[in-house]
């Protein structure tokens, strides 16, 4: 089923990890979807609302929402789980109109979209590597991309389900499996010492799996882990799930 998709590229991805956005665009086009990139996208407001500063978040959130209002599309897809969660919550917080709700109803995180809405029929290329999955918190516990390790409820894992059909791929997990990497937005600077220790532990846990890549769906966590991995000189690299999928299509 070919769809018209609007890309939601959060500011961090736009500015610091454009390759993730390019891979997202590319893979969606390879899957036969028509992809557009609405102009005027700003920050989702998360750095402010996560700090309790709702007044300061209002303008940027509403501008981002405006960028999508009235845009003709079947889905709005975002390759960053945490920003997507914040956008959903903040759009609703600052605009309770039907128009806003229409935008919210179309919002999907990339993995979620590829699992629930438009599954990938087959992959063309092999990816013969071991990857260690970074199950970032907001995608895991707020978007329910998989059953968190704390939950004894029904077991599912959308990330693994999307990736496991790539020929040759070997998926492993760090131990502990889904502990926070310590990024946490401004937490990384407000609580530098604890954030760094969490990041260091996470980076070492990924490296201990002997995987070649840490793969995740949340660019901000990957950026944080990348900085840690390079500081710790660990033999592993970060990749976004979009980059892995795009290369295999």
């Amino acid at each position: 089923m070919n769809m018209k998709i609007a890309l939601f590229i959060p500011c961090l991805v736009n500015q610091m990890m454009p390759d993730v956005a390019i891979a997202t665009l590319s893979l969606l086009e390879k899957l036969g979807h028509q992809v557009i990139f609405p102009e005027g996208q700003t920050c989702c407001g998360q750095p402010m609302t996560n700090s309790g500063c709702f007044n300061e978040a209002r303008n940027t959130t509403l501008k981002l929402l405006n960028a999508f209002k009235g845009v003709e599309c079947d889905a709005i897809v975002c390759p960053a789980a945490s920003c997507l969660v914040a956008a959903k919550e903040n759009f609703h917080e600052f605009d309770q109109s039907q128009e806003a709700q229409d935008v919210i109803n179309k919002l999907y995180e990339l993995t979620e979209f590829l699992h629930d809405i438009a599954p990938i029929a087959s992959f063309k290329h092999k990816f013969e590597h071991t990857i260690s999955l970074q199950m970032s918190c907001h995608g895991l516990r707020m978007l329910s991309l998989a059953t968190p390790s704390e939950s004894m409820g029904p077991q599912f894992n959308k990330v693994e389900a999307v990736l496991q059909n790539i020929p040759g791929i070997n998926i492993v997990y760090p131990a502990p499996r889904d502990e926070c990497c310590g990024f946490g937005g401004t937490f990384a600077v407000d609580e530098g010492a604890v954030s760094a220790k969490m990041g260091k532990d996470k980076a070492h846990a990924h490296a201990a799996t002997h995987a070649q890549y840490v793969v995740g769906f949340d660019p901000s966590c990957l950026l944080h882990l990348d900085g840690m991995i390079r500081r710790q000189l660990l033999p592993i690299q970060t990749r976004h799930i979009a980059q892995i999928i795009d290369a295999a299509l």
């Binding site: 500063c53 502990e179 407000d190 609580e191 990348d226």
Partner: protein, 461 residues
């Protein structure tokens, strides 16, 4: 203690000894793993959590009625009931009861409420000797410290440190650090205290409204040894401890020890529905800020907590910053939830990545991450933002809301990352560059690339 410092400053001190952080984190993670196994062994676990949450919400929404029913039933059972608005009143009531019976020595079993009320120093000031009898509590009492965890209060101490403390205070052999032998020494020491105490005081895990009974859970047996020897027994409880009936208590009892330490139930779960023969039983019902919390419907859910400590064990920040970094009697996620208003440093709501693990671990589904985020908003509204946020957040908000401004700023940042040697940037990049490598600068932003890509695509067509 590090009273008025920020959580971040306290945590930075704690993090200086990395081996100790690893040791502390692992000990608590061990409890989380035990909890996972225990929870997985109960097929209806998630159903119990849902029921636990509903029971507590229902009780809280009819709390006035249930408190009155509880009091009435207690009186019928010959129990004396006291009401205390706050810590000062609680302590005064306790002192009055103890003085009436000329109590010289009081044995206490673990009660976070009496910690919250700072009862021990108050009674000691009035000439009453107070002995904490839970082993962990006794250790920290001898060490002159508050608890660093609500279930395992001495989790911050290594066995060698306990050994040295016992050598000084209980005369154990120098260098003795074997947990079994140290526990034996404490048993002997505390048994003398039990046998010579004039009164006992315990906390309350649950108070059953339709029975007029309190439930007290321990693994060591200290609450029951204490309460059942002297004539006088006193139980202090927060108003949030009420459950409607024994059936409701069972739902919570099935989860309490499993979620706390991975045990199917505490060794002793005792139901006191009246005093022993010739004895006297008192219950002090305490508010101390709980009715304030109930005025805010998001914060109110924190009163569903049954104090299992599961959220502390799973919290990646608590495990790496220690119980003394929170500026409140109760540390960790639940400590932030119920203690943030008392935090003069206004930083503890930010001692959290909002990862949400605690909310999924919680046996009564307290939405801890939502409550913590809400505390940040309340602090912001009260103009009590930490870390200079008050000054830089409006600027960030302005910057982020303008694609042009943001592009300019990030463009210069990318340029700076590219052209200036990182050794020069690092000192100015704050906590990020102190612990991590700075990001590798991409060539351009996505939107710039997209415009070029779209243009070249059109040309190709």
């Amino acid at each position: 203690m590090y009273q008025s410092k920020s959580h971040a400053d306290n945590a930075t001190i704690f993090c200086r000894d990395e081996n100790r952080v690893d040791w502390h984190s692992k000990a608590l993670w061990n409890l989380r793993e035990k909890r996972d196994r225990a929870a997985a062994s109960v097929p209806e676990w998630e159903q119990l959590r849902q029921l636990g949450s509903e029971i507590k919400l229902h009780t809280l929404s009819h709390l006035g009625d249930y408190l009155c029913q509880f009091e009435q039933k207690c009186i019928e059972n010959g129990i004396q009931v006291h009401w205390a608005k706050d810590a000062i009143e609680h302590n005064a009531i306790a002192l009055k009861i103890l003085s009436t019976h000329s109590v010289k020595k009081l044995v206490k079993s673990k009660s976070m409420l009496t910690e919250e009320c700072h009862l021990n120093p108050f009674l000691e000031k009035h000439g009453i000797e107070v002995i904490d009898t839970d082993l962990g509590e006794r250790i920290i009492q001898l060490n002159n410290q508050p608890p660093s965890h609500i279930v395992v209060p001495a989790i911050h101490m290594k066995k060698e440190e306990v050994g040295e403390l016992f050598h000084q205070k209980l005369n154990t052999p120098k260098g003795e650090s074997d947990p079994t032998r140290l526990t034996r020494a404490a048993r002997k020491h505390l048994r003398d205290q039990f046998l010579s105490a004039d009164a006992a005081m315990t906390g309350v895990n649950m108070a059953i409204a339709d029975l007029g009974a309190v439930v007290v859970c321990t693994n060591e047996g200290n609450a029951d040894m204490g309460a059942n020897l002297p004539k006088l027994q006193i139980h202090s409880m927060g108003i949030d401890k009420i459950v409607p009936d024994a059936e409701s208590a069972m739902v919570l009892l099935r989860m309490l020890a499993r979620n706390a330490i991975g045990q199917p139930i505490t060794t002793y779960s005792s139901f006191y529905r009246g005093s022993k023969a010739d004895g006297e039983m008192h219950i002090i019902i305490v508010d101390n800020g709980r009715t304030d919390i109930m005025q805010d419907k998001i914060l109110a859910e924190s009163l569903k907590c049954i104090r299992c400590g599961g959220c502390l064990n799973t919290c990646p920040v608590y495990r790496r910053s220690g119980g003394f970094s929170y500026n409140y009697t109760i540390p960790g996620p639940i400590g932030i939830a119920v203690g943030a208003q008392h935090d003069e440093s206004n930083t503890i709501p930010w001692a959290c990545t909002l990862c949400g693990s605690c909310s999924y671990v919680c046996p009564t589904k307290v939405p801890l991450d939502k409550i913590i985020a809400h505390h940040r908003r309340l602090k912001a509204e009260q103009g009590k933002l930490p870390f200079g946020k008050k000054y830089y957040m409006p600027a960030v908000g302005k910057l982020m809301s303008s694609p042009t401004l943001l592009n300019c700023a990030m463009g210069s940042a990318r340029l700076a990352l590219k052209v200036i040697p990182h050794s020069l940037i690092k000192p100015f990049s704050g906590a990020w560059g102190q612990y991590r490598e700075l990001p590798v600068s991409p060539k351009s932003s996505f939107d710039t690339w997209y415009k070029q890509h779209k243009a070249s695509n059109k040309e190709a067509k």
